[in-house]
């Protein structure tokens, strides 16, 4: 690190000491998926906003920062490893860049400040029950009626739709030409008449996902982002952010720290803890080498103007590695994977924990991590992208 970077790191650390309270830290530590406790995430978002750090990746003119790549990396690492809760990513990390690129001046002026301040919480309506990996086959219809679109259909795997007040979605405005050609990118208020939702209980017993239903929902035409029928290009730009903008190597550091904490406390055999057990520590070292290779891959992506399909490489290798690391934590924890301890995950929980402290998150994190190769373009789709775009196989 350069001297400036060390100064920057110190500044971030001081900020965390000052503002990352014990309960916020707890909400970060208790995360079992990419989402933290909603209320804590929002509080943290507002604290970051006050500091001007809610959207470091955005251009400065829109409320972002002029940080270098390295500074952004340092910032993310300090927050994540320092135990900060993740803020709701869908607005700032995904929709923000879209509006900055495709939005009208009016849309930028209206949406970006509210997004930055945490006044609007966004959810993403892409997948449908019949359109998952084959996203272009989506069938939610938006028909023009004067100054409105009348929307009918359903979206699924809509993360935190039950807490969001806004949704951005892909809708079908034309059935002509290639399936990709008739898709538009539309914003809506969740309280629009005709929009309803049902919560989906996840495998860990909590609700993070929803299904959202549109029944003659009237959405103003002014909520269109980009041109009508050009939504696919808009979405593709967004998917690049979802895939390429993520630092898996920081996730891995956090996951490795957890493996080490558990494996240092749990015994494998003959009084040898897992961390010192030859087979286990060899498995761990193997994953650490993979993580190192990925970290350097991410550096190549950041240094490149045209990372192309290396972002798919990073998503594939990054998510599959996260799964393997979380499996090691679960392995080392042994029998204490079993207790279901939802209450202990609440930030204000003051009761006892069954097993070691990290038992409350380990199994749920292991289970939830299986979704990492499903959402945001499944592992199969990523492999298709690489085989076609890089290797030229058809």
């Amino acid at each position: 690190m350069t001297e400036e970077e060390i100064t920057f790191q110190t500044e971030v650390r001081q900020f965390l000491v000052e503002y990352l309270s014990a309960d916020l830290k707890r909400s970060g530590r208790n995360m079992t998926s990419v989402f933290a406790d909603y209320d804590c995430a929002l509080r943290w978002h507002k604290i970051l906003h006050k500091q001007g750090w809610a959207a470091p990746e955005w251009p400065e003119e829109h409320g972002g920062t002029n940080w270098t790549q390295n500074q952004r990396q340092i910032f993310q690492r300090e927050l994540k490893l320092g135990g900060a809760p993740a803020i709701m990513a869908l607005g700032i990390q995904m929709l923000g860049p879209i509006i900055i690129k495709y939005g009208t001046e009016e849309q930028k002026h209206h949406y970006l400040p509210r997004m930055l301040a945490g006044d609007d919480i966004w959810c993403q309506g892409y997948s449908e029950p019949g359109a998952g990996s084959d996203l272009a086959s989506l069938a939610t219809r938006a028909e023009r009626d004067g100054d409105h679109y009348v929307v009918n259909g359903s979206k699924i795997w809509t993360s935190f739709a039950h807490r969001a007040n806004k949704i951005f979605c892909l809708v079908r405005t034309s059935t002509e030409g290639r399936p990709q050609a008739g898709i538009s990118f539309l914003l809506a208020d969740m309280d629009t008449q005709g929009i309803s939702l049902s919560e989906i209980i996840g495998l860990d017993g909590t609700v993070e996902q929803c299904q959202v239903f549109f029944s003659d929902a009237r959405i103003p035409v002014t909520n269109l982002i980009g041109e009508e029928n050009q939504g696919w290009n808009v979405a593709k730009y967004l998917l690049e952010f979802e895939r390429g903008g993520h630092n898996y190597s920081i996730d891995h550091q956090k996951l490795f720290a957890k493996v080490r904490a558990i494996a240092g406390q749990q015994y494998a055999h003959n009084g040898i803890c897992y961390l010192e057990e030859p087979a286990f520590s060899a498995d761990l070292a193997e994953l650490e080498i993979d993580a190192l290779a990925l970290e350097y891959t991410e550096q190549r992506i950041k240094a490149s103007d045209a990372p192309g399909s290396l972002t798919s490489v990073a998503k594939l290798a990054g998510t599959e590695l996260s799964q393997k690391i979380s499996a090691l934590s679960s392995d080392a924890l042994g029998a204490h994977n079993a207790p279901l301890q939802h209450a202990a995950l609440e930030v204000d929980y003051s009761g006892k924990v069954v097993g070691p402290e990290n038992a409350i998150t380990t199994f749920a994190e292991y289970v939830n991590m299986r979704a990492a190769t499903i959402y945001g373009g499944s592992a199969e789709i990523q492999r298709n992208i690489i085989s076609r775009a890089v290797l030229g196989l058809r």
Partner: protein, 382 residues
């Protein structure tokens, strides 16, 4: 895909397999299971009495004890069906583990508990593993002190499955030796509500019930001690191991069948996703993983039935293979189903959760790999 077609069952065994399969298919719906799993911590299992009425609870006990003298084949059939239907009832804990130890005890113990176990009135639990050491087979710090009247037990047992509903506990406690010694561990039969026993009860991630049980100056009679032989402890752990391996194979079969069916129905890109070769090959790998495990289950069943000298070796091979196959098949089933498998309302993820806990029971894959190597050396020497 047929269930096991490679094994020859006698008429009675075939009848058992058919009746278990029919009964569970007819009555043990996933929705009913879900409401039991999500129900009250201390609610009794609605099907338990039926299991008794069908005679299943007496299956492995000797006929002189009032049972049906069923062997490994019967246990395997029963547990494969339990695995397929994700049965929550504490058969393993009550009949195989607690019952299995009690049946080796003195007559007075058998009289006190066995009839009640077989009639469904008494449930059991087996407390052996301790916090931080669940993978260490012989780690027992819970102590048993000889007193004038019998024994006094002190210590804590972790994740005692069915602890909340058990009436009788089998607890391992150290009579002598270092905490890790394989020698000097006694198996004690104790009333769950004896003075000095305190429990923290909870629901488990696979919808079952368990407890952390602490024993504080628990006084018990001399006849509560069943055995101090390492072989007896291994016997009960190996029986549990065999049962959960059979259960896992039933669960894996269900996962594979469901995945194949789903991939034939689910359409993306204008065709069933099962028409994509990458997915076909993944399902083929799942099938291979299942059949390899199933072969070892058959071989182990025979070896245990005949008391072959390589039965321990085969059991370790089986558990190792089951754990590996379970992961490969679970991961494949989740991935090929996609998001829907990550929900509570589909059974796929529940098989995954159950199989993950099976991995942690009765020796991990790592433990059995080591044990396989040791037993192999022993057999070569003989």
């Amino acid at each position: 895909m047929q269930a096991d077609t490679t094994r020859n069952l006698n008429d009675e065994q075939q009848m058992l397999a058919d009746s278990v399969s029919k009964y569970l298919t007819d009555t043990y719906s996933f929705d009913a299971r879900r409401s039991t799993a999500n129900g009250d911590l201390l609610a009794p299992h609605p099907q338990w009495q039926q299991f008794a009425n069908m005679g299943w609870l007496g299956l492995p006990f000797d006929d002189c004890d009032g049972g049906f003298s069923g062997g490994p084949t019967e246990i395997s059939l029963l547990f494969q069906a339990f695995g397929k239907h994700l049965v929550l009832e504490p058969y393993l804990e009550t009949v195989v583990l607690a019952g299995g130890v009690i049946a080796r005890g003195q007559a007075v113990l058998k009289q006190r508990y066995l009839d009640g176990i077989m009639s469904g009135d008494i449930q059991g639990a087996f407390g052996h593993g301790e916090a931080g050491h669940s993978a260490e087979r012989y780690y027992v710090s819970t102590s048993a002190l000889k007193t004038d009247h019998g024994w006094q037990l002190n210590g804590t047992k972790a994740v005692v499955a069915n602890g909340p509903l058990a009436d009788v506990l089998v607890i391992s406690a150290r009579i002598e030796g270092d905490v890790r010694s394989s020698q000097g561990i006694g198996l004690f039969v104790i009333d769950r509500h004896a003075a000095g026993i305190a429990a923290t009860d909870y629901v488990t991630v696979d919808g079952r019930r368990a407890s952390e049980i602490s024993l504080n100056h628990v006084e018990i009679a001399a006849d509560a001690l069943v055995s101090t032989a390492t072989d007896e402890l291994n016997r009960v752990l190996d029986r549990g191991c065999f049962a959960v391996c059979a259960e896992a194979i039933g669960a894996m079969q269900a996962l594979l069948s469901a995945t194949v069916e789903y991939c034939q129905q689910r359409r993306q890109f204008g065709q069933p996703i099962g028409s994509f070769q990458a997915l076909q090959h993944r399902m083929v790998d799942m099938y291979i993983a299942l059949e390899l495990a199933r072969s070892l289950l058959g071989a182990t069943t025979d070896a245990l039935t005949n008391n072959d000298e390589n039965s321990g070796l085969l059991l370790s091979a089986l558990k190792y293979r089951v754990d590996k196959s379970a992961r490969l098949i679970s991961y494949g089933a989740l991935q090929l189903h996609g998001g829907i498998a990550m929900t509570d309302e589909l059974n796929i993820g529940h098989y995954f959760k159950r199989l993950t806990l099976v991995e942690k029971q009765f020796g991990t894959a790592q433990y059995h790999l080591q044990r396989f190597k040791e037993l192999q050396l022993q057999l070569q020497k003989n």
